[in-house]
Structure formats: C-alpha cells, structure tokens
Amino acid sequence: MLYTTPSGTRDLLFSDCVRRRETETRLSRIFDARGYREIVTPVTEYYDVLLRGFPVPQSELFIFPERSGKLVALRPDMTTPIARVAATKVDCTIPRRFCYLQDVFRAGTQVRQAGVELLGATGIRADTEVIALAAESLAATAGSYRLEIGHAGFFRSLVESLHAGDAFAEELRSLVNRKNFASLQDVLADYRESPAYAALCRLPQLFGGEEVLNEALTLANDCVGTDEIDYLRRIFRELQAAGFGPNVMLDLGLVHHMDYYTGVVFRGYVSGAGAPVLQGGRYDGLAGLLGRSTPATGFAADVDALAETFPAPRETPVEYVVHVGSTALRRAMDYCDSRPGACVCSPYETTDESRALADKLGARLIVIE
C-alpha cells in the first residue's frame, strides 16, 4: 500500500522548511519595514464572494458545500480575500498596506504565497513603491532576477482602436502573451490598414530598456493615447535612478489577466526557475465589485520557488546525547539550551542504552545524574 499526499500537494521536510522559513523571514522583514501589516484569512471563502473577485475558472477551484449546504472554496489567491476584508472591515479612504504569507489552492495545486496589497492609493507614487518592493523582494531572496513591467492600458487601447469583438481581442491577447509573432501577423491580416496594425504586430518584441517605449510611440502613430507610455517611462526612470539597473525591464507584450488589471502590470523571474515567480499589477475595479470602490495594487510571490534558489542548508549534526537521570531534568534542559541544536536528550532510562544511541549517531554521551 502506498501512502502518498494528494496530487498537487507535498510534504516539506527539515531543510526544505529551513529554506522556506528563511525566505519568509527575509520577505516579511522587507514588507514590515515598508509599513505593510500582516493579515491572515480563512483557508475557505464563500463561492459567492469568489465569483465577484479575481476571475478564476470554476474548473481551477476546489469547491465543496459547508455544513449548511452553502458552497465554499479553498482560496485560489489572496487578492479576493483582501478585497473582502477591505470592503467590510477597514477604512480605505486613507491608504492601507496589507501583507500575507499564506497558501493558495489553484488548478489542483497548493502554493505558498508571500505578497502585498496597497489599497486606497492611486498614481505613480503607489505604483513605484510596490514595483520597487517586488524588485527588492527578489533581490533579497534569489539574488539574480529580472522584473518586467508593462501596462494593461496600452494593449487595450490598441485593440479598442480596431473596433473588433471580444473574442478577437482575446485571441490577440493570447498570441501577444505567448509572443507568437508569426500567427499574430496572420490573424491581423484583415487589419493591415488600421493605424494600430504596426504596433500590435511588433508588440511581442517590444521588451527591453527605455528604447522600447520610443519604438512604441513611433509605431502607435498617434492612433492611441500615449499616456501609458509616458507613465511607464516615468516609472522606469525612477527605478533606474533608484539603482535597480538592468534587473528591471519593460515588456509591452505583458498582457496576462487583461480582464482584471487596469494599469501597470509586472512579473518577476529568477535564475533556476523556468516559470515566473512573482506576478502583480494595478487593479482598480475589484473592491468595487465587493461593494466599495477602492484603488489597489499589489503582487504575490511563489515562496517555495524562491526558496529553491537557496543552496540546501546542511542539517545540524547531533553532537551530544544527554542521558537524563531521574533528578536531572532541569540541569539537562539547561545543558541543551546552552548548546542550541547540538544536543538531544536520550529517551532511555539506562546509560547503556543511551551510550548505544550516542554511538549510533556518532555523538558524545553526556550523563547528567
């Protein structure tokens, strides 16, 4: 018989836990220093609430009835729970900073996330704060990283200028998102005369430094507003001046979750992980869905993917096996406390058995009678 964990879940043993904890410690230290305050929410949410929040396909949720028969789901992200808290419990007419270290359950897997949300603040000061925090979070954990920044509005206004249907917009989004240069040109063939054609075809290649913004302006050819490009330029320059250098890039083809993000979007990568380890952006529509309109920006990082980039810590070897006599409990505990991590108390009552254990572990036997 095999006793495995359910699919999409795993056990973390010893050094895995050390790495996870270290990652979380470093992240929480940065979050805390910037005034983000931790919240913990239940592992389940009412399905009704999730339907009003971040759009997650039903097939990716773990849904089950609670005792009353009402449907609940394991939280698929932390954005909706925070929006619920903000809408019902916190006055967000002044800016509020939340952070969290919690598991989310999505598409059959359990993922440990660390993230922040800045609610009740709009504009460049809030956006640069959160993007810089994302970059620092990657720098503090993985070391070698890239953070790419885009803008949901640029793609959206290009597509709107085509006056095509939603299904076509979604097809374009998917092709741009996958940098599928070839098919994008085929699909846009009927729009060759449109002023947005050149920019849309080139969009997947528009990633890199500030030069991509200049190219985008030339290509966009006055067919769309240039506010988004100017906004990205200001953010990019601020981040350059703050010393983030080539780790921060621009990608105008970054168009994931377009139905949700309303402003800047960003994604983080680290060496050794094939998939993005951090995702975020601005969304000013969500809390409104829950009853109170609040601007919001934030990100979530995959804690275990970041922890994987640390070298595996060596397990501390046991140096002393402490044989504890019947009146020696306090002294034995003090002895162990004075050598943290190096001692274990023997669970045996005779010194012979304790000695055998010490030999087995390659440790010294300390007898405290």
């Binding site: 070698s144 890239r146 790419e148 996958r178 940098k179 599928n180 240069f181 070839a182 098919s183 997947p204 990633f207 890199g208 890039m249 990608d251 990568y269 680290v270 060496s271 050794g272 992980a273 094939g274 998939a275 993005p276």
Partner: protein, 214 residues
C-alpha cells in the same frame, strides 16, 4: 560562454532542424552523428556567437523541457503544442514539417447534422479534438487510439477521426474524406518564459540568426 540549451524533436523534424542550424552558421557535425551522446555541442563557426547545447527528444518532452526551463529553446510541431497547450513563448514558424489537423469520416457521415447522441471521435489528440468540438458546442465521446486511427470509422468504433494529415493518401485509400480542416501545422521555435528575460540578448540573437536562415 554558457551555451543556450535547445531541445530538438527527434524524427520528422530533426533533419530539417539540423539543416537550418547549418545554414545559420553552426557546426552541426555532432548533430549529424550523435552516436550515444545525449547532450550535443553545437558551436557557431563565429566564436563570438553563443554556442548551443542540443538534446534530441520526443515532441512532448521538448515541451516539458522548455516549459520547466531546463532548456531555454525548443523546436517542436504545432500539433504537439496544440495538444498540450503549456506555457512558453512561440516565436517563429519555421515553415517545415508542414501538415494539417483534419476531421475526417466516411463520405456518407454528416458530422454537422443535429444528433441525439454525442459524436464518437477516434484520435491520438484528445486535447485538440475536445477543444474543436467544445468551441462548436457539440458533445463528443473521444476514443483515444495509439496506432492506425483510420481504422476506427471502418470498424464502426467511431463516427469520425481527428488526425494530422500530410497528403491525405492514407485517408483516400481507406475510403475516408476530410470533412473539416481544423488547423495548419508546422515546426515552431519555442522559448522558455524566464529564459527569454534572463538571457534576452543571446536569445534574440539566436532568433534573428534562425529567421535569417529560413
């Protein structure tokens, strides 16, 4: 220089991929005669160009390697991409390995006519088949077949088949006709999401070289 790792699909696409690299200026002698080696060095004739390190793999494995990031690049057929639909950048249509996905059946079978029961479709590509019928709101019962898919309608196992078709001669010889062309298929160059960002200039340089050699 740290080589760029590239996964190549064994078999049908292999020869053309090797020719493409040769035209792009790479020394492909290791690829022409791999022997028992699994990781093959493919240096460029210009030593300032980042070399490649190639692996030959089955098509679904190429996608796994690229998605997981153990290879930055891959060459794989659009058929496998459509079937597995994972996350990576699909940056070039290499134009070789051309064929198409088609829905085929016996001439008298009308797959579009309204039906009380789900269509039974035999295929090696259940993902592509489900996506095609779902999009049209037609219920379908998919029978996964590993070998000669054309047999399924002849034996009465299925109403039709979804398969890749090159010339259509196998279909014709077995009395089947193409009912719908689902999608064209050809070899694609795919790139890992993180790799594209972490090694941008080297990968763009490789894409440009490859495109110029097409």
């Amino acid at each position: 220089m740290e080589p760029l790792k590239i996964a190549l699909t064994k078999g049908r696409l292999e020869q053309k991929s090797v020719e493409l690299f040769e035209k792009a200026g790479y020394d492909v002698s290791a690829l022409r005669d791999p022997g028992r080696k699994l990781l093959l060095d493919v240096p460029h004739t210009d030593p300032s160009v980042v070399p490649l390190s190639a692996v030959l793999a089955k098509a679904p494995d190429v996608i796994t390697y690229v998605e997981r990031g153990v290879c930055e690049l891959g060459i794989v057929g659009k058929d496998t991409i459509m079937e597995l639909g994972k996350s990576f950048y699909e940056v070039l249509d290499l134009g070789f390995g051309k064929c198409r996905f088609a829905l085929a059946a016996r001439p008298e079978t009308d797959l579009d006519a309204p039906s009380y029961r789900p269509r039974v479709i035999g295929t090696k590509y259940p993902g592509v088949t489900r996506a095609y019928f779902n999009k049209r709101d037609i219920e379908v019962d998919i029978v996964k077949i590993e070998g000669s898919v054309e047999l399924a309608p002849l034996l009465g196992l299925a109403d039709g088949i979804v398969d890749i078709v090159e010339t259509g001669s196998t279909l014709r010889e077995n009395g089947l006709v193409i009912k719908t062309e689902i999608a064209p298929v050809s070899a694609r160059l795919i790139v890992n999401l993180a790799g594209m960002k972490m090694r941008k200039s080297e990968i763009l340089d490789f894409i440009n070289r490859t495109q110029a050699a097409l």
